[in-house]
């Protein structure tokens, strides 16, 4: 997976929709050093927004203590087959991305 690529897995059960997100991202804190002793610059996701049928339903703020290639799980109250879940992200280098998935 390239940096910023997102995978979305969903499953519906008991009136809820379980959404598992995984973003390919280094999540560098800016506090580690490479083999030559140089500080590895920070590079981490700062915000993710979650949409249900194009309506924003949640906002997630992230910091550099979240693990590399973060896996994030949230739960929606409701959800129907063919509903569209979308996630957008931005990192501290102002790179952005998004991904959608259809419930089914």
């Amino acid at each position: 997976m390239s940096v910023g690529s997102v995978s979305i897995r969903t499953r519906m059960a008991n009136g809820s929709t379980f959404v598992d997100l995984r973003v390919s991202h280094p999540m560098e804190s800016g506090q580690r050093k490479d083999k030559s002793g140089l500080v590895i610059p920070s590079w981490y996701l700062t915000n993710m927004d979650l949409y249900h049928n194009d309506k924003r339903i949640g906002a997630l703020e992230l910091g550099p203590l979240v693990s590399r290639n973060p896996a994030i799980s949230v739960v929606l109250n409701g959800g129907e087959v063919d509903d569209v879940i979308k996630v957008t992200w931005i990192d501290n280098r102002d790179k952005v991305g998004e991904k959608s998935a259809t419930l089914g």
């Binding site: 809820s16 999540m27 804190s29 506090q31 580690r32 979650l50 249900h52 309506k55 924003r56 339903i57 949640g58 906002a59 997630l60 703020e61 992230l62 910091g63 550099p64 203590l65 979240v66 693990s67 590399r68 973060p70 896996a71 994030i72 799980s73 949230v74 739960v75 929606l76 109250n77 409701g78």
Partner: protein, 142 residues
């Protein structure tokens, strides 16, 4: 003073300063400051309706699973914090939209023996739950 004695003395005082003074003191004040910025002067109540799921011993400090579930009515925000670290705020989730359940999980990069706190904001105030995590393997640096 002999060179050997001087080295022993300065090494000991340096280690003492690192472990009990400046570094940990700064991290602790970062946590306090972050909480103060979040809640202002509001009271935070320890509440069992905030469930914080973290392992007591994490085999790999680079990937420590953490989950938060709030059954506090009208939860509008969940914030994850760590103590003893230069950056206290780990993540937060705005759950004010009724479509989104007040729960989420992810993985953290933690230093050894860190306390994780989940802060929950509801229309009736702030609630919290904390847990100590000991990492047994690889972890991030402070």
């Amino acid at each position: 003073m002999q060179r050997r004695d001087w080295i022993k003395k300065t090494s000991a005082s340096g280690i003492a300063a690192l472990t009990s003074g400046t570094v940990l003191g700064d991290a602790a004040s970062k946590y306090d400051q972050t909480v103060a910025d979040l809640v202002g002067g509001d009271k935070i109540t320890l509440d069992e309706r905030v469930e914080l799921l973290v392992p007591e011993d994490a085999a790999n400090g680079a990937v420590v699973p953490v989950g938060v579930f709030s059954s506090v009515p009208d939860t509008v925000k969940i914030v994850l914090l760590v103590h003893d670290h230069s950056r206290a705020k780990v993540a937060s989730l705005d759950t004010s939209n009724p479509m989104l359940a007040p729960r989420f999980s992810t993985h953290l990069q933690l230093i050894e023996a860190t306390t994780v706190t989940a802060l929950v904001q509801s229309k009736s105030g702030w609630f919290s739950q904390s847990a100590r995590v000991k990492t047994l393997g690889e972890s991030c640096e402070k």
